[in-house]
Amino acid sequence: MATEVGPTPVKAPASGGTPIHHGPKGVGEDNQILSQGKWASWLLAPTIIALGIVIVYPIISAIVMSFQKDAGLDPATGLFTAGGPAGVQNYVNWIAQQCAAPAGGTVACPPGTLGAQFWSATATTFFFTVVTVAFETVLGFWMAMIMARTFKGRSLVRAAVLVPWAIPTAVTAKLWFFIFAFEGIANQLFNTTILWTGSEWPAKWAVIIADVWKTTPFMALLILAGLQMIPAEVYEAAKVDGASAWQRFRMITLPLVKPALMVAILFRTLDALRMFDLPYILTGGANNTTTLSILVINQIRQGFNSAAALSTITFIIIFLVAFIFVRFLGANVVEQSGATGKGKK
């Protein structure tokens, strides 16, 4: 990730500064554009085919699977038999928290089944998302403001900040697992005897703390990229006009950094909505820290088709959130080059 994020601050102003090629179209240009389009589609074809194979096919096959029943056991032979078509039953079972009843039909899922955890897992996922993204945005902004200043050892600070982000999440999780152990550093340091992974709220906060520690640098760097696109003259002009530091922040920094900020928040939100490895390793999903992704993985071991339905539901939920972001909050992933171009006009 470090190599991807690093060059952005340099690249972004450059692309913003390139002259815009697309003037009003003349009639003669139409043919040229048409042939260009053909050429482009040939060039794009390999990528699209590759994406089709690795993304579209698995998604469609998952959706097809989600309309199949899971294998049941033939009581006479003790062997599994194919479940057959299920219609939307798998989806209904998750959303209404219904489980198979021994006598046939369905009953409300008893506690201890995965089905009984659907809504609590959804709530937990959203709770984690809102809280961690909020913390990460505020802290990330603060870190970015510091890193944007010129001072000695700035590049060292920028590199150092990335360290938590560079460590694989599974390793981070194991690290925090030992920190939050009963005899671990957290309790020793604050002289407390909290069962961090043994009761609901401490467990939730343990996950939040570890996640914020890990991903704030990512936020900070994306925001930093946005900050560096703001020309210094704007601030100078504002200073000359007698704007206070707070006014400069609110009237200049915030609106100008907003496109980058929204993209950063969108990415983090999507990332947080599919949070898996951290709670899985840190708490094992105990004490109401089971997220939707953990539920999917647990279900895969109990029945593929039902798991496919659950992952499709998760997909739809995340899609809706992303759609709301793009549509209403102006997180502009697609039109970013256009938007920055507009700012320049």
Partner: protein, 429 residues
């Protein structure tokens, strides 16, 4: 330039799909269709085969395979090493069997996977032409490889629970649970915790909770694989744990313990009794930081009236129904479970043998002094629930036993929820 508005959702979906594809990895196997392969095919086939097992950390498998290959130049065995993560090993085997891969001839299966794989029709029944002699093996280990009365996997190594105790504080180890609880006053006097096992919410809790239930005379599943938790015995078993936690006999941090954390607590002298696997013995007696080096006693885990019913660990060897060289596979399986190989597991890898006779072998006992106690433990052991729905059963046990031990749910409710959850899993969907 403006991207047309209608492309927005497409692009969004693309980004999402990229981010999501990481999650979908495990499910790519496709709909499991049962039926399996032909158990009558390839019975006389001979030729090169592949043996699949998790990471060979203590270098036990490679020397054995080399030895076999030297003696059987035309039926060479290739050793395919998996990761050291049990879940990944499980999923790897599932994917290969689903693809009807003939290249996974002999597989090493955890005792709890045997029923699932057998019910999927992936394992060659070890009967008739493929029969092996199990008479010298400890019975519970054979039970762990048996599904619906048929042996599907040959016991390879075993594992049972031991009760570690502080012999400087407790002169004679407790034989029953009640006796152990009555000794907790000693712990209190010395200002240390009394008893701990593994009560964090994970597979270890299933092991500990079934041990408690089995030791009190109950059982999780009956002979037909149906849950049988609404019994006074099961209640007494789970109540033992819940009560001990409420009384403080299990220290409050006990519900965060997995194997290692509980070992560390005991090894640093903070516990009077510890339930754990045999691996603790070597570490606690040799590690420099151990505070209990010369104060360590071992005993079978306590039950209601005598030795308790340990949960069984270990691995079994199975032949794939898709194998083309089953005759070779069977010979290799017999070779890997022979007395000589079993002895090698014990000396080289400290893995508990499945042959009863080895537990009194002088050389072995000299090297692994806990063997006689472990034999009692394994002889009294009960395999964890043998069911093709094991993943659902273990979750049902963990979820409800955890709530019961923490006192969030009365033991009765926890058991009836456990019962209903397991019934629902078995009902299919």
């Amino acid at each position: 330039m403006k991207t047309p508005k209608f492309l927005l959702p497409v692009a969004t979906a693309g980004i999402l799909a990229l981010t999501l594809s990481a999650c979908g990895g495990g499910g790519g196997g496709g709909g499991t269709q049962a039926g399996g392969g032909d158990a009558a095919a390839g019975l006389d086939g001979r030729g090169p085969i592949t043996y699949v097992q998790g990471k060979d950390n203590s270098n036990v498998v490679r020397p054995l395979v080399a030895k076999w290959n030297a003696a059987h130049p035309n039926e060479k065995v290739t050793f395919k090493e998996q990761t050291d993560q049990a879940d990944q090993q499980h999923d790897d085997i599932v994917q290969h069997f689903q693809a009807k891969d003939a290249g996974y001839d002999v597989v090493d299966v955890d005792v709890v996977w045997t029923a699932e794989f057998a019910a999927k029709g992936w394992l060659q029944p070890l009967k008739d032409k493929m029969a092996i002699d199990t008479s010298a093996m400890l019975k519970p280990t054979v039970d762990s490889g048996t599904y619906k009365g048929t042996l599907y996997a040959a016991p390879q190594t075993s594992d049972g629970a031991l009760l570690y105790y502080r012999k400087d504080l407790v002169p004679t180890p407790p034989k029953t649970w009640d006796e152990m609880m009555s000794m907790c006053s000693i712990a209190k006097k010395n200002n240390i915790g009394c008893y701990a096992g593994q009560f964090s919410k994970y597979e270890g809790l299933t092991v500990n909770a079934s041990e408690a239930i089995n030791s009190a005379g109950g059982s999780v599943l009956d002979k037909d694989g149906k849950p049988s938790l609404n019994t006074p015995e099961a209640k007494a078993g789970l109540e033992n744990l819940a009560k001990a936690y409420a009384d403080g006999n299990i220290p409050k941090e006990g519900i965060t313990f997995q194997e290692e954390l509980s070992r560390q607590a005991f090894q640093s002298g903070k516990l009077l009794f510890l339930r754990n696997w045999p691996y603790v013995y070597n570490l606690a007696t040799t590690e420099g930081s151990s505070a209990v080096k010369d104060k360590l006693g071992i005993a079978p885990i306590p039950g209601a009236t005598g030795a308790g019913a340990s949960s069984l660990g270990g691995h079994n060897l199975a032949v794939s129904v898709y194998s083309k060289n089953k005759a070779t596979a069977l010979d290799f399986l017999k070779f890997m479970t022979s007395e000589e190989s079993e002895k090698f597991y014990a000396t080289q890898g400290s893995l508990a043998p499945v042959l009863g006779s080895l537990y009194t072998d002088k050389d072995l006992v000299a090297k692994l002094p806990y063997l006689p106690v472990l034999k009692t433990s394994i002889e009294n052991a009960v395999p964890r629930p043998v069911t093709p729905f094991y993943p659902a059963v273990t979750k049902a046990i963990q979820e409800n036993a955890y709530s019961a031990i923490k006192g969030e749910k009365p033991v009765d409710t926890a058991l009836s929820d456990m019962q209903k959850s397991i019934e629902s899993a078995g009902a299919g969907s």
